[in-house]
Each structure stands twice: as C-alpha cells, then as structure tokens.
Amino acid sequence: MFDKGKKIDALSNLSTPKKDTELRQVWRHLRRNRLAMAGLAILCIFVLSAIFAPLITPFDPIKIDFGSAYQAPSSEHLLGTDWLGRDNFSRILYGARISLLIGFISVAIGMVIGVPVGALSGYYGGKFDLLIQRIIDILIAFPGILLAIVVVTILGVGVENVMIAVGIASVPIYTRLVRGSVLSVKEQGYVSAAKALGIGDMRIIIRHIMPNCLGPIIVQSTFQIATAILWAAGLGFLGLGAQAPDPEWGRMLSDGRQYIRTAHHLTTYPGLAIFFMVLGFNLIGDGMRDALDPRSRRHR
C-alpha cells in the first residue's frame, strides 16, 4: 500500500521552484515601484534607529534633568527638550521601539486568532460558519478604534493591554479575509482531488488552501500594522495606552500639548514620527498589493 498523502505532497513539492520565481517576480515588480521603495527606506530607518537607539543618542529617554528643561532644538538637543529636561530626539528614537512592538505584536495576535477561525469557518461552512459570522458582525458593529477602547476599558490601561486590545480589534479583518479566500479556492479541482484521495481536512487547509491565501494576508497585515500603530498612538493620546514615563509617541503628543504655545516641538515631532512610520507601512502595502495582483502587473 502506498501512502496517498505522501504522494500528493511529493507532487505539490514539484511546484516549489515555480513559487520561487513567483516570489522573485513580485520582488522585481516591487523594486521598480518607487513609492514602495521609499516606504521600505523609511521603515529601514525606523527599525535601525529603534535597534541602535543607545548608539545614536547619548541621552537617556526617561532621565529627568531639570537644568535643561524647555530647550528649543539645538545642536546638542536636536529636537529640543521637554518640561522635565528629557531629550526629545532620544524619546522619539526609543518611542519607535514601542510603536513597532505594538504594531507587530498586535497584528500577530489578530492573525493567530483570526486566520484559523476564518479558515475553519470558510472550509466547514454550516452552523459553525454562521455562528462565527454573527460574532464577527457584533465585533465590527463597534466602529474603528472603539472596539479597542472597549477592550482597554475592561483590561485597564498599559502597553500590553493596548497590544491585546488592538489585536482583538483586528481579528474580524483576518477572519473575513481568510474566510473569503478559502471560499473562493475551496471548490477548485485540486482541493476536490485532495479530498478524493482521502487527505485529512487539516492537511488540506494548511498545505493546499492556505498558501493561496498568503498573498492577501501579507498585504492586509502590512496595512494592519499601520492601523495598529495609529490606534495605539490614539489610545496613548487619550491616556488609555502607555503611561508615563514611557516614551510612547501618542502619550508624548498629549503631554506636550500643554506647552504648544511655547514649545511646539514637543507635539510636532512625535506626530511626524507616527506619520512617517504609518506612511512607510502604507506605501509598502500599496506596492505589495500591486505586485501580487496579476491584473495590475500586466497594466504597468
């Protein structure tokens, strides 16, 4: 007796080199997209400065130094200092760590819950699907940042809870996306073939259906990281996110507001940092969407 599952997997392994060229095609297309490359450059700068922050700036982001409070941008303090004499530039550099962390972790939370639920819901259909869809309907009835606010209200403030809240708020997006993709490939010939050969459902979903959903998931995740960063900064701004003395950009903005007339560098620059980081992710997301869409690839 030969193992049917192994046979099929061996067959699907044959297509691996083809997937490779597909990846290279996407990258070639992406590389020619000037806006996407600009986005990549912006993100590289943020990631590098987040990693090497202690090497770039000599100042501690949370150390108070009343002697140098309220300074305007100068050669010593590139972006000035705040009311406690903390170096604004250092705080923004270290803030990149917090924002990137929140962005990636909350999206990971959303994916870990949303993707499997969406896949199972689309694959099995029936009552399970109906139940999941109704739950998702309820979650998306809370518009935009509101669901994250509700979750933070229940869990309490703080960076970790913001990650969980924003993660939960992005679950519906993944569930719907993956469910839609699964529904569209479920009836394809190769899935029926795999079923006819007696391959288990889990294996079919993971090895034969999910690879087809990967493109949309990656594109959506790029945009979702941008949204997560915006929401987290919004929660920080409202006082529901990171707490003092963490150098979180949204929090810095709302604290700096009181000094807007005398020291507007305390609100301008953290805002610009959020803006550029979100822009970076959005530009790459746009680029990848175009690169993965064969229709637009032909157009250009």
Partner: protein, 311 residues
C-alpha cells in the same frame, strides 16, 4: 427589493442583541467588585450595597442581563456616578454634537474626495492626478489628533482665523470637521479614482464613446453610477471610522460630543456613562450600515436577487 430590506433588518437584530451583551459585559468583566465600580470610588458601603441590590448582582448573569435589557428598552441606562444625572439625558445632550461633527466631516469628504477622484481618473497621470494622490497618501497616514493640534497651531494660535476649541458658531465647526474628515477625504478620493478607472476601461464605455457621445455625458451619465457602488460601500464603513475618530477629534477640540464624554468617563471610572456612550455609537453605526446596504441594493439591482451574502 422589499424582501431584501426586511431580511437585512432581521439580520440586524442578533447584532443588536450581541452589542447589548458586550456592553452589559463591560462592567461585569472589570476586575474587582462591579457594585463598587458602578457606585463610584467615593461611595459609602450602604450605597454600594444598594447598587448591588438594584442591579441584582447576587443573581445569575442571565437574570442581570434580562433586567439590564428591559431597562434599556425602556430608555433607562442608569445614572452617572459622577453627576448623578440619568445617562440617557447626558447622551441626549451630547449625541447631536457628535452627529453634527461626523456628518459635516462626511459631507466635506464626499464633496472634496469624489471631485478629486473623478478629475484624477479622467486626467490620469496629470499633475493634478499625481498631486492629489500624493496628498491622499499623506492624508491617510496622518494621525487625526496630531493633525488637529497642527491645525490649532496654524489657524488658531498663529493666524487667529478660527477658535481652537469649544462649540457655538459655524467657525467652531470648521477645524474639527476638517481634521476628522481628512483621512476619509483621502480614502474616498483614492477609491473613486480607481473605481472610475475600472469602469472607464469597460466595453460599454467604449461603445458610448464610439457612438460619438460627449465625454461629459460618458463620464457623468454612463460611468459615474456604476463607479459609485464601491464608493458607497466605503462611505458606510468610513462613517464608522469617523465615529471612532470623533473620540479623538472631540478630545483635541474640546467638542462636547459623545466621544469626549466617553473618554472622560473612562478616566473618571464613570462606567454607566461609558456603557451608554459605547452603546449609542455602536447602535448608530449598525443603523448607518443598514441604510448603506439598502442604498447599495438600489444602486445595483442585481443584489436583490443574489444570495444574502451582501457585504
């Protein structure tokens, strides 16, 4: 058509029940004693005990929810622990302000966003197209609260054109509405452009053109209605984003709306008001989506006969 509308209405019922359960759960899930949370930080032990009895907190959750829902349907959302006034009164004062802000932002977004999108699509790759699409990229990325502060700095502090906060005249409305509407403007411009380009590339447009129709007629009579379908969908979803964004914008501009009431209440642990504010924003969003789906069916008659999977 009517069948579809009724089915769509029925579909909203479980959503509304679910929303009410989640809002009901806010207080029950908070770590600690719900009675203390509702009564307020400085309440006397006797008052906390009374709240516990009023809310039947010693009963099962299903009994509590039943009482909560019955009260809710009678328009009773409890009292603010901060002001002692009924939550419904607080909301009734604030909600029209949020509605005014969000609708003004939406109108701005529709007018500017759609015009820019249509012009961009008809004059593809022109200077206007490139400039407005770049502006749209920036508009989506800018955090709404930061944008609001920058507007205050420029138009209130430096130029003195508009007041930096509060409510009263139309001049108070300009900056918050522009701030809130900018991201939606950007998104509508992008969607309108790509949707118009899609439609303009279709065969029936080529036919219309080859019949010798004036370009204006082709664009506005033949292309626009079909191009609008994705735009209307986005508008509905965007209204939700606007309601969510209103929370931030209202905080920046001291606009006395439901969003700011909610944030203040969260920080003051005034949970009955938080519940009410969350509930009214969610209810309103469900209503908007209902209306959008009906408009959607009107724009595209095929939907009526299709499956019920109309998202």
């Amino acid at each position: 058509m009517y069948g579809y509308v009724i089915r769509r209405l029925l579909l909203a019922v479980p959503v509304l029940i679910g929303v009410s359960i989640l809002v009901f759960a806010i207080i029950r899930f908070i770590p600690g004693d719900p009675a203390r949370a509702i009564a307020g930080v400085h309440a006397s032990p006797e008052y906390i005990e009374q709240v516990r009895r009023d809310l039947l907190l010693d009963e099962g959750l299903h009994v509590q929810y039943y009482v909560y829902l019955t009260n809710l349907l009678q328009g009773d959302m409890g009292r603010s622990t901060f002001t002692g006034r009924p939550v419904t009164v607080e909301l009734a004062e604030r909600f029209p302000n949020t509605l005014l802000l969000a609708s003004t932002a939406m109108v701005i977004a529709i007018i500017i966003g759609m015009s820019a999108g249509i012009v961009s699509a008809t004059k593809r790759y022109s200077l206007f197209d490139n400039a407005s699409m770049l502006a749209a990229l920036f508009g989506v990325a800018a955090p709404v609260f930061w944008l609001g502060i920058m507007f205050q700095l420029l138009f209130s502090v430096n130029l003195g054109w508009f007041p930096s906060g509060g409510i009263g005249t139309w001049r108070h409305l300009v900056l918050p509405a522009l701030t809130l509407g900018l991201a939606t403007t950007a998104l509508i411009a992008r969607i309108t452009r790509s949707s118009m380009l899609d439609v303009l590339g279709q065969d029936y447009i080529t036919t219309a053109r080859s019949k010798g129709l004036v370009e204006k007629v082709v664009v506005y009579k033949h292309a626009l209605k079909n191009a609008l379908i994705p735009v209307v969908t986005v508008m509905g979803l965007q209204f939700g984003t606007l309601l969510g964004g209103a929370v931030l914008t209202e905080t920046v501009f001291s606009w006395p709306g439901v969003g700011r009431l909610m944030v203040d209440s969260i920080l003051a642990r005034d949970y009955p008001v938080v519940q009410g504010a969350v509930l009214i924003l969610a209810l309103f969003f469900v209503l908007i989506n209902l209306v959008v789906d009906v408009i959607y069916a009107f724009l595209d008659p095929r939907i009526t006969y299709g499956s019920k999977e109309v998202e």
